[in-house]
């Protein structure tokens, strides 16, 4: 088991080195990617600054809380982009063109290959900037935030990323059934939008759905609550449970999907 983990980690490092070399060849695009991120962050801050010019708090989230929530949302997005978005977004194309064959022929787990092959290396720069921003906001927060909160936040954040991977992977893998589902990336993006607003706006059935079937609240809102208001064991256990369920689903769907794969003629 240990050898396998070491082998896969070393494989991922090779993927990373290769992706970094590729990304640095297109320097303008590398800088452009950073520019897009900065504009996206600026626009989101601007959106909430307008909302908060008419209101003091949205549920429990004050202006300071929402600023931290936004940075955590961006961090989650950047973290996810770094590892997965360069891969799952292309799954439909790989399937339609039959290029998935090359992934299946390799002597490694095919789900690992399609999920981790390309790393968006420029996301590291955004990640470091966001981490500095988060630290600054946490230090300036009116109430002290303890080390336990930070530790629990890291765990909750990682589980949120696993969850988002699960949702995106399931949507992307639906191309095996639809034959050509080129809008899967768009659909994922639209569903992800629910995670970019504080959970206190969701009520009733929608809130229940966003806590379970489409677990968008668990991606950024729960990590934010964990960091700001302290770990809630019920939330964390629920997050772990849902993350495991979704991870299991990705395995089932991938195996079933591969059975339907007909190579280039798909």
């Amino acid at each position: 088991m240990e050898d396998m983990v070491r082998r896969y980690f070393s494989l991922w490092r090779s993927f990373f080195d290769n992706s970094l070399t590729r990304d640095l060849e297109f320097k303008a695009n590398f800088i452009g990617g950073l520019l897009v991120d900065i504009i996206y962050y600026g626009i989101q801050f601007f959106f909430f600054s307008i909302i908060y010019s008419y209101v003091d708090a949205i549920g429990v989230f004050t202006r300071e809380d929402v600023m931290i929530f936004l940075v955590i949302t961006f961090l989650a997005d950047t973290f996810y982009m770094f590892f997965f978005s360069g891969n799952l977004f292309n799954l439909n194309r790989l399937m339609v063109r039959g290029d998935l064959d090359y992934f299946l022929l390799k002597p490694v787990n095919s789900q690992f290959m399609v999920s981790f092959r390309y790393v968006k290396s420029y996301a590291i720069v955004s990640f470091v900037i966001l981490l500095i921003m988060l630290t600054t906001l946490v230090l300036a927060y009116p109430k002290p935030i303890g080390i336990l909160n930070v530790f629990a936040f890291v765990i909750s954040f990682l589980m949120g990323t696993i969850l988002w991977y699960g949702v995106d992977f399931i949507i992307s893998s639906s191309c095996f059934w639809f034959k050509n589902f080129s809008v899967s990336g768009w659909l994922s993006h639209e569903i992800l939008k629910f995670s970019t607003r504080p959970d206190s706006i969701y009520t009733g059935l929608l809130r229940k759905m966003l806590f379970s079937m489409i677990p968008m609240i668990l991606i950024a809102s729960i990590p934010t609550r964990t960091l700001l208001y302290g770990p809630n064991i019920q939330y964390l256990l629920w997050q772990l449970f849902i993350a495991m369920i979704f991870l299991l689903f990705t395995r089932i769907i991938w195996k079933r999907g591969l059975l339907r794969y007909e190579s280039a003629s798909s």
């Binding site: 897009v36 504009i39 600026g42 307008i50």
Partner: protein, 269 residues
């Protein structure tokens, strides 16, 4: 003229047939509008409830929702960023050569393709727009003049938006890869054109700057006409301004394109 119309109508027809093959686009697009509206509904409901107010800068809650709903539809109808990315690719890869050796305009051909690809959206959203005043009377299109004004402003918005994207696409002649520029514009445009928050709710300083740009005519203008937020006596002067912007942006696009085509290698990057 007849030959010109026939030629480009054929492009629309051809892309419309292609668009019919990808119905999932329309389903996801409709989901995008309704999910976006649901989020906006919930967030503004909190704002109105928390402050215990009935009106923000002249918008009642229902009026604001009707406004945002229309904004989302107009925002999606006028957005040609997917076509723009294809145009950038054709310049970067040298694929554009086929437009240069044929009697077609790169600008008009892609504009027609954009309309053709969006045709399914036009059908679905037109149905929604027809149902809107029947299901929620009084919130949009109080008179038939408002329908006419909206359609005219929407056509201007679609053209203007495409012409702005075209200017950005032409920078690919020099830089090869300008996708980031288009995506950055697209992201900022969603908020700055009033697609998710009405321009009237922006701080005055920001609004004054936006009023100096064509952004106000992309979403806010057609929707303000439809929701009767813009008095009728402002329609013609505003349409005149919007048309002036169309002419300016078209000319700027031509100048950039003509300069760009001189440096175009035609062999791909």
């Amino acid at each position: 003229m007849k030959a010109w119309i026939e030629k480009y109508f054929f492009v629309i027809r051809m892309t419309w047939i292609q668009a019919l093959e990808y119905k999932a686009n329309t389903i996801v697009g409709t989901f995008a509008i309704f999910s976006g509206l649901a989020i906006e509904f919930l967030i503004w409901k909190q704002v109105f409830q928390a402050q215990g107010i009935n009106e923000i800068r002249g918008f009642t809650f229902n009026g604001l929702m009707a406004y945002i709903f229309l904004c989302m539809i107009v925002g999606q109808l006028k957005s040609s960023w997917v076509t723009s990315i294809e145009m950038i690719d054709s310049i970067r890869t040298g694929d554009m050569n086929k437009y240069l050796i044929r009697p077609i305009s790169f600008f008009t051909y892609h504009f027609m393709m954009f309309i053709g690809h969006n045709s399914l959206f036009y059908i679905v959203y037109s149905t929604v727009l027809i149902l809107f005043p029947i299901l929620l009377p009084g919130w949009v299109f109080p008179t038939s003049f408002h329908i006419l004004g909206f359609i005219m402003a929407l056509l201007i918005s679609i053209y203007l938006s495409y012409a702005i994207y075209f200017c950005m696409v032409c920078f690919a002649f020099w830089f090869g890869e300008v996708r980031a520029l288009v995506i950055a514009y697209n992201i900022s445009n969603i908020v700055l054109s009033g697609q998710i928050i009405p321009l009237r709710l922006f701080p005055d300083s920001v609004r004054n700057i936006i009023n100096l740009t064509p952004l106000q005519f992309l979403v806010d203008f057609p929707v303000s006409i439809a929701t009767a937020n813009l008095p009728m006596n402002f329609w013609l002067p505003k349409m005149g301004m919007a048309l002036t912007w169309c002419i300016i942006i078209t000319l700027v696009g031509r100048v950039i394109y003509r300069s760009g085509i001189r440096v175009y290698g035609g062999y791909g990057a």
